[in-house]
């Protein structure tokens, strides 16, 4: 594998989910089972096996084969729960595969989540060294790059302040700065751009494109399609634990955004596709409804339509907001809107009570251009916690029949095609 950086052969990872449904026949069986189970578990654990037997298992990843050349920047896209993160976890050796092999040439650095290993009581300076060591940097290496890291993070003044006093922006900048100054031959990046404000995201993106152009090998997992298009040449699409496509990024993104991968009209979340970190928030479904109130994957721009997000809260959540993201098929954002954007509504809904809720949003007529759109959802408490995000939950298409200007058979540029009020005034009589 002289010019290969990574070679993955038939890699697979099996997870066990939940416990086997118990089927005791009698009360006595149950008692005996309860008495024997701990011993069986202990003896199993001593043999290094996991303690759940014969219960349901799920292949998070299976029969995965691919190669990455040295210096290549490869994008990895797929729905939530498709196995992207599992793949990176296997390659960074956080967890072991169940079958198959992977060979990696060179030191691997991973940016799986910024700020992991930061200790709130330690100062910025101390955390740089600690975090650097955790990420595998040598002390000399950190010393050499220390100023650069502080500079990038823009925290010079607070470098000797405990990071628990940092604003969330400062914290993120510092965390990203440490990770971004790693110098491994191979860098695995997972969704680091999903955090921070716009300016910070731009800066991160800039840094990442520097890294990509330095000739290092990068695997880049993201839901941000424009970042994938910008940073990578080739992209693989993962669906249900398999690689379904590998091609130039533009094609892969196009395929992912418009094919059946992103479901059309309706999206229902199965429990296993939801991260545990979402609790107590549980997304149920997202639907696009036409003006007849029926689920539709194709709506008419001239009629308007609505979007219905159904979810359940296992506990009350203070300050929760749920909202939608709208993107074009190429991943360019169109707009973001939250159900408590109206300040009065926000005050009324200070606490969202446990139970099932539907947040419904009316999209006015004559707003969108014809084409395919992608809808995403988010549930979060501003600056406190993001419970759930699925930026590409479903796709739907907009039919331009009868929209303003449709008497001319021509494509119009831009994702919106609003009906705007025009005046045409004649200011001067024609000279005769």
């Amino acid at each position: 594998m002289s010019d290969l950086a990574i070679r993955v052969d038939d890699l697979g990872k099996q997870y066990r989910i939940g416990e086997r449904a118990n089927s005791y026949h009698t009360f006595r069986d149950m008692l005996v089972g309860a008495a024997v189970a701990p011993f069986r578990r202990i003896s199993k654990s001593l043999r290094g096996e996991q303690f759940l037997d014969a219960e349901e298992t799920i292949w998070a990843l299976r029969h995965v084969n691919f190669e990455v050349r040295q210096g290549e920047v490869l994008g990895i896209i797929g729905r939530n729960g498709a196995g992207k993160s599992t793949l990176l976890k296997l390659l960074s050796r956080i967890t072991e595969p169940t079958e198959g092999t992977a060979a990696i040439r060179g030191r691997v650095g991973s940016l799986l989540e910024v700020g992991t290993g930061f200790h709130p009581e330690l100062t910025g300076r101390e955390n740089i060294f600690l975090n650097g060591a955790i990420l595998g940097m040598k002390r000399a290496e950190i010393n050499r790059r220390f100023d650069e890291i502080v500079d990038f993070a823009e925290v010079e003044k607070f470098i000797d302040t405990p990071v628990k006093r940092y604003s969330s922006g400062m914290y993120l900048r510092l965390a990203f700065a440490v990770a971004a100054h790693l110098e491994p031959e191979i860098l695995l990046i997972d969704e680091v751009l999903a955090v921070g404000d716009a300016a910070f995201q731009r800066k991160c993106l800039g840094k990442m494109s520097d890294i990509a152009h330095e000739g290092r090998t990068v695997l880049f997992v993201s839901h941000n399609m424009s970042a994938v298009l910008r940073l990578t040449e080739e992209t693989i699409v993962i669906e249900k634990g398999n690689i379904v496509m590998r091609s130039p990024s533009a094609e892969a993104v196009d395929y992912y955004m418009t094919s059946g991968l992103a479901q059309t009209g309706e999206r229902i979340w199965q429990d296993e596709a939801i991260n545990a970190s979402a609790a107590p928030f549980r997304p149920i479904s997202l639907r696009v409804l036409d003006n007849q109130e029926t689920m539709a994957e194709r709506v008419f721009a001239k009629e308007g339509f609505s979007v219905e997000f159904t979810y359940e809260l296992d506990e009350d959540i203070q300050g929760l907001r749920t909202g939608i993201y709208l993107f074009t098929a190429r991943g360019e954002p169109v707009f973001t809107s939250f159900d408590t954007d109206d300040p009065q509504r926000y005050d009324q809904m200070a606490v969202r009570q446990a139970g099932r809720h539907i947040s419904r949003c009316q999209i006015p007529a004559n707003l969108l251009n014809e084409g395919t759109y992608v809808l995403g959802v988010n549930a979060s408490v501003f600056r406190v916690q993001s419970y759930f995000t699925d930026a590409y939950a479903l796709t739907f298409s907009v039919d331009g029949m009868g929209v303003p200007g449709s008497q001319w058979q021509e494509p119009r540029r831009g994702p919106v095609r609003p009906a705007l009020h025009w005046e045409i005034v004649r200011t001067e009589d024609q000279k005769s």
Binding site: L11, R41, G100, E121, L122, F129
Partner: protein
Amino acid sequence: MSGNKAVDTTDVVPITRIQPTHGWNGLNLGELWRYRELVYFLIWRDLKVRYKQTLLGASWAILKPFLSMVIFSLVFGKLAGLPTDEAPAPLFYYAGLLPWVFFQDGINKASASLVAGRNLITKIYFPRLSMPLSSVVAGIVDFGLAFLVLIGMLVYYQFPATKAIWTLPLFLLLALITSLGSSLWLAALNVAYRDIGYVTPFLVQAWLYASPVVYSATMITDKSLQVLYGLNPMAGVVQGFRWAIIGAGQPDPQSLLVSVIVALLLLISGVFYFRRMERTFADVV
């Protein structure tokens, strides 16, 4: 090669092979050595953070054994009138408490270290051994501070240093091996079974009474019982500390040998068990 990492010697750039491992993993201590700076930083973090936002700060390292000594002297020395090997009761108890507190703190912190560090384990790869290892080793600093008090007490009681004082580091090492060995078992088990978190305090308490901390080992006179007693390495450690400091109750070489063997077995089996369970840590924790 059942291990996770094979280094291609023909090339400068290392090639990592990732594949399922079966059976017992190799120890792969070389990798732990490559990550020695991480161990150092984890120890340093432990020390830095431990007494942050406490009123008395690092003096807790001294107060813990010191206050225990005061209580033991009052309850077991004065009230129960247990013999203290002709030494002043405070000195007798403090000499036994020094290694005991080191052992107990190590086991408490290290057995919880993996669960406490679960966000690291699920996000980043590093040799997992470094977590319990650094928790136990960090205790040496506290031990050093508490030891200064012992020196003060020796001066106060005008107690001359014994000839056996040089053996102290060896007994400390035995305490470290015992603490690390049992912590590796407990830490690895704790990942899968949180029961261990509840069991550990009882285990440590039972262990306290199985070791001659509140009483003198010289009270056990039956020779065959002494060898049996040696099965508890901490008995040898505590007895050895007293002998090295106040000169009474020389440990029986035979039972000491048993102690050393048991401690080493505990450590070696602990490391192997830990390495075996390591592959599922990130999935289970």
